[in-house]
Amino acid sequence: MEQDKVFPSGEIKQIKGSCLVLKGDDIDTDRIIPARFLKCVSFKDLGDQVFADDRIEMKGSHPFDINKGSSILIVNCNFGCGSSREHAPQALMRWGIRAIIGQSFAEIFFGNCLALGIPCATSEKKTIQEIQQEITKSPTAKFNLEIQKLVFESPNKSWNLSMENGQREMLLSGRWDVTSQLIDKENKVQSIKKNLPYLTNFKE
């Protein structure tokens, strides 16, 4: 059995841990998890396969090999673009990532992360670069991401981040898992089905 309990659950207020810097814009989901690993009916082995091709190419010097045990990932622009595969955030999560901070995220990727309880916070280029430098200086330091205040703290500095209020609320209240909210509205769904022209053979 998988140990799902280590995964995010309930209210998410704070992520603490060491960080991993992955530089570069437009890192797509094909790179996060190459398509050949999509041939699976369960997500459970994906953690080992995250960034598989980049890691092979870099022969052990890839950040995901050097910084095992990190829980906060720092990226640049448009992270997670490309395919909608949830395998990408799943692979990151199963490797151990619990939060991502970057300049911007691809939309579907962002939504997939939220659905798994992985906060994606943003900040402008300068701040991200500063954070990246700080981590490179002290790679083993523990950092802290506060969702309520949206601050990211190193032992000696702190930076402000952004996230849409709604999304922050969802994380803080533990309602990032929207399935139950959606199911609660079953009656409404049924009544829409009775009224939408294309579902009622256009009877009006």
Partner: protein, 461 residues
């Protein structure tokens, strides 16, 4: 439908399409939570990503692929979901079959666990790709949590010239706006050049809206849309058809609508467009040189540097004359009948250059059947192309079709990401199906307009 906690909106989904790659985990999650499929009658399945395109006999040679398909079959049968499986005559790439079967209709909300769901926007549907958790949500509740999108109208004037296709237009748009330019937006494609496009061409445009970062793309429904749908399997019939048309006609964007953003392109000025790099935004007109770092926006430089290195292509040089190894015609972008026709027109009377592996993969069993009926398979085979069974094939590496080593492919698909076509060092040049066929004949990247011109001359001489 309703505001949800956190500010997103609950959106009813009128059509849910599923396939073997992103659904098994969603069904497993349903089971874990003890949930049922709320609207199996609004859910349709097919198998496309993992199917081999040479030998489709079961069990597949690849046990993982076999497991994925049998999992899908079991999930569909136990939840009462219609599966258009192999050999049903209706199987194919999910974004090819749903329009073909008349499932996709104007005004629908369409979701599928696949980013190229934007394709269905060609019918004036709101269609977007979703992740597996959302597939679970749609199965359980026939609805989704969505944030409101901004709308950018992309107005295309003029008309596409001979030898320039919908693929060139969308590659040109993405190259101009950038792969991130569409984030937060839905794209409305409109204007004379868009209205002049066939439904299949509109699908190509909407298909790649996602490559420009947009969540979805759409074209307002018009008489072409209705004509395409008329008589299709799931399209309304008889009296219902007339009522459907009057409802669909009301869906058009209001003429006074105000858009969050507007952009104008001139279709007449667009040339065949080819990507040289590792994102769909790294494209150039065929007669243009590969950009030099100093000509680029500083933000685009690092990825360009990465691309020169990965592609082994020098800035300032031209793509024409670049030798290629593999030519792939197919995918949900360009695997429909008109795509194969455009490629066949080039292939006819010519032969694939020596040492080139060229193959054609119809987007669906129906496309294959129709292509055979009009003899396209013969034209291709005579010209030295392989004719395959329908599937996603070499668009991505989840089936036996893949690049080897650092092979370079001319491909009618939609993504040129590193490793996309199955080899970690494999290289992809995206272009229109006619351009791929031309490359196959010449053995190198070439301007299809020259071949078309030559053909015309031989005919008139």
């Amino acid at each position: 439908m309703d505001k949800l906690h956190g500010g997103s909106t609950q959106l009813f989904i009128g059509l849910h399409l599923i396939h073997e790659v992103t659904s098994p985990q969603a069904f497993a999650a349903l089971k874990d939570k003890g949930l049922k499929v709320l609207s199996p009658e609004r859910t349709f399945a097919t198998v496309d990503h993992i199917v081999p395109t040479t030998n489709q006999n079961r069990p597949f040679a690849d046990p993982l692929a076999e497991e994925m398909l049998s999992t899908l079959e079991n999930n569909c049968s136990s939840h009462g979901i219609k599966l258009y499986g192999l050999g049903s005559g209706k199987q194919g790439i999910v974004h090819v079959i749903a329009p073909e079967l008349g499932l996709t209709q104007p005004g629908m909300t369409v979701a599928c666990g696949d980013s190229h769901t934007s394709t269905h926007g060609a019918f004036g549907a709101i269609a977007f790709g979703i992740g597996t958790s959302q597939v679970r949500d749609v199965l359980a509740s026939q609805s989704l949590a969505m944030n409101k999108l901004k709308v950018r109208r992309i107005w295309v004037t003029g008309q596409l010239s001979e030898g320039v296709y919908a693929k060139d237009l969308i590659l040109h748009i993405i190259r101009t706006i950038g792969v991130k330019g569409g984030v937060g937006y839905a794209y409305e494609f409109a204007g004379p050049a868009i209205e002049a496009l066939s439904m299949e061409e509109r699908m190509t445009i909407c298909n790649m809206a996602i490559e420009g970062g947009a969540r979805c793309g759409y074209v307002n429904p018009d008489n072409k849309t209705f004509a395409y749908l008329n008589g299709r399997l799931h399209a309304p019939k008889g009296k219902e058809w007339d009522k459907a048309i009057s409802w669909w006609k009301k869906l058009k964007t209001n003429t006074e609508a105000i858009f969050d953003d507007e952009m104008i392109f001139n279709g007449t000025e667009i040339s065949p467009t080819v990507t040289w790099g590792i994102t769909p935004g790294q494209g150039i007109a065929i007669n243009e040189a590969i950009p030099c770092p100093e000509d680029l926006d500083p933000a685009d430089k690092p990825i360009a540097q990465e691309a020169y290195k990965y592609m082994n292509i020098d800035p300032g040089t031209y793509l024409t004359g670049l030798p290629i190894d593999v030519c792939f015609i197919g995918s949900c972008t360009n695997g429909r009948l008109s795509d194969l026709q455009a490629a066949a027109e080039i292939a006819k009377g010519n032969h694939v250059a020596k040492g080139i592996k060229a193959f054609v993969v119809p987007g669906s069993e129906q496309v294959a059947k129709e292509a055979k009926r009009i003899g396209l398979d013969k034209i291709f085979k005579t010209a030295g192309f392989e004719w395959r069974e329908p599937g996603c094939s070499m668009c991505l590496a989840m089936n036996p079709d893949r690049l080897e080593g650092s092979q370079i492919s001319a491909s009618s698909s939609n993504r040129n990401f590193k490793g996309r076509q199955g080899s970690a060092t494999g290289r992809t040049l995206l272009m229109s199906p006619a351009m791929v066929a031309a490359a196959a004949i010449k053995g190198e990247v070439t301007d299809v307009r020259e071949m078309l011109l030559q053909k015309e001359n031989t005919i008139s001489n």
